[in-house]
């Protein structure tokens, strides 16, 4: 995979004392959220969330269930658009461009911001077709050989190719849970996304499969910007460079992972990571 030119973007002017804004030192700013509010019908689910997401790193979103971390994640590739009665205010930018701008098409956005879900959800098709799905709809392959190459590369990157190379035509639903999830990761990276969102990708997996996925994330972060939602603080600590703590729809604190887990600023963060609630 060729290296994309990294575009350094200055974040839009920030209000004073923005907790989420952190000057990027080693990493470019990939996505930025400013004052994001979200309602499901009458019910507000996110309150003034502002968060910077850096390229080539893993950002973990943690918090008790129902805190809005998954909701926020789904804002990043406009998956909430599908939900009836969902309204969003505020700005979310990808490389400085507002992704909710009218000229931005969610279809194209999602090709750049891929997603992996909590429960592995391979399509009831062959392994090959699962991975080929994205390149096909986006017209990324000009020939059959091209397509095969993309599939093999994606499966290899997802660390699955060796296990399935002899049965690419078998159904993707026949794989084990961990394999299915890696298949979904392969499917997500098949369209060359810049950002990969992962919504509790390991919650349905056993420890061994979890370890493999975590190792995979570690490899992938060299080339991708990864945002992961997890309910496991250990996992956040293991895989992420930055961690954001959500509580009751608000972003409480965001910082280097090491700092969050050793020396959090906010008392609620402290309470959560020490297990007082959650």
């Amino acid at each position: 995979m060729e290296a994309r030119p990294v575009i350094r973007v200055e974040a839009p002017a920030l209000p004073e004392k923005q907790e989420g804004a952190l000057p990027a030192e080693q990493h470019a700013l990939k996505m930025a959220a400013r004052d994001v509010n979200l309602w499901y019908g009458e019910k507000q689910a996110l309150f003034d969330v502002s968060l910077d997401i850096l390229d080539s790193s893993v950002t973990a979103l943690i918090g008790p269930s129902g805190c809005g971390k998954s909701t926020f994640l789904r804002c990043l590739n406009r998956m909430n658009d599908v939900i009836e009665g969902c309204t969003i205010t505020g700005d979310i930018t990808l490389d400085g461009q507002d992704i909710y701008a009218p000229q931005v098409d969610p279809v194209q956005l999602r090709a750049r911001v891929g997603m992996v879900f909590q429960k592995p959800n391979p399509f009831p098709k062959s392994i090959f077709e699962n991975v080929a799905y994205g390149p096909r709809i986006h017209g990324l392959a000009t020939s059959k050989a091209d397509l095969e190459e993309i599939v093999v590369t994606s499966l290899t990157k997802a660390g699955l190719f060796e296990e399935v190379k002899d049965r690419l035509q078998e159904s993707g639903t026949g794989l084990s849970g961990g394999q299915q999830q890696r298949l979904c990761i392969a499917r997500a990276i098949s369209v060359n996304p810049e950002v990969i969102l992962m919504d509790e990708p390991c919650s349905a997996l056993d420890p061994i499969a979890t370890a493999r996925i975590e190792a995979l994330m570690d490899e992938l972060k060299e080339n991708y910007c990864i945002v992961i939602v997890t309910h496991s603080m250990q996992q956040a600590a293991r895989v992420s460079q930055r961690t954001a703590f959500f509580h009751l729809g608000k972003l409480v604190e965001v910082d280097e992972t090491a700092k969050i887990f050793t020396n959090p600023t906010d008392v609620r963060t402290q309470d959560y990571i020490t297990g007082r609630f959650g």
């Binding site: 998956m79 599908v82 999602r110 891929g114 997603m115 959800n121 399509f123 009831p124 709809i137 369209v191």
Partner: protein, 459 residues
Amino acid sequence: MIGYLLLGIIALSVFSYVFARRRAVAAVGGRQHELHSRPAYHGAFVAAWVGIPAFLLVLIWLTLQGPVINTLLLWSLPPGTTDGLDRGQIDLLLSEIRSVAAGNVFGEPSLVVQAAAERYLRWQTIASYAMVVVALSVALLGLLLAFRRIAPKFRARHAAERILNGLLIACSLIAILTTLGILLSLLIEALRFFEKVSPFEFFFGLNWEPQIPIREGQVTAGGAFGAIPVFTGTLLISAIAMLVAIPVGLYSAIYLSEYAHPKFRSVVKPLLELLAGIPTVVYGFFAVLTVAPAMRNFGELIGVPIAPNSALAAGAVMGVMIIPFVSSLSDDAIAAVPRAMRDGSYAMGATKGETITKVLLPAALPGIMGGILLAVSRAIGETMIVVMAAGIIASLTANPLEPVTTVTVQIVTLLIGDTEFDNPKTLAAFALGLVLFLVTLALNVLALRIVRKYREQYE
């Protein structure tokens, strides 16, 4: 007579219920807590013993009375009367006797028949009186036997509940009895048909002319019974129906389940289902009144002759009737595809249309196939539309502009009017019915299996 008898049995049961309750209370001198079961159970127990055996007896009696009297009648005829008559002619003789007895005399019946009719009437009267006497005695016997068991210690509740259980089981068995009844009656009559017409001719013959009058003493003693044109006609009309119903039903289901605003859906879905609630005789009339003439006029306009009872008109109208089957089953199947599949596809940057055609439809395919199979079985078994709008003459053609006939049309036309159970024309209807039953049964079983498997896949 029978009505009064049944009323009498019911009255007797009610009476014994009241009587037995009193008896139970009296048995403990009014101290009801000393009874094992509440008095009502004693009443119910006795009433059941009075009513049920007598009622069953009446049923059995009624079943057997006809055949027994017929046999007696045949025995009583002067020796030699029935010599050399085959079964059909004997049946004819019996029905003549019956109609003479009922007072419907056409022409001058022979003396033998008149005498037999008198005997018939006499035996009928005797039989009904005997039935009343026997039924009432059985009821009284039941009363007596059950009544003697009333005692403080008697577990009347258990006994009554056992009887109730038995009744419940008997009612559930009706489903099996119905299936058995269908299978047996169709099989027996069909076998009788195959005694007269070889199965080979029926299943492979190309000529179906059961209505043509046959001259005396012809070898086959019936028309031609090659059912292939009937089968192909059924297939042709069903195929046309499915050609209408599958695209319309499937696209409606796609739109309703994925695109439509909930308000639009809540209005249109019941409207579509209304199509399934309209009686088929109405569709038949619609085909004859509106669709067929419209098609004929259109054909005239473009210079193509279209028969007034063309397969196209009948099939198209049948297709309209079947739309809701396809659409609601497809809708269910598409809705049953888990949300995760949609999310997965949208997250890949697929449009709604791509998600539907490339993910949802393939995933829902087994469910949709099951629905389509059910719809096919519905089309094959549909009767009134084709009886009114399709042809009666069986012709071996694949041209949808010509009239063809179907299995169901033949069943109805062969059996409408007076039926005698002995001529191949009548029996042919049962052979066709057997084929129809088995084919639709197979389709249903297959469809239900596919649908169930499909549901399990996502549970």
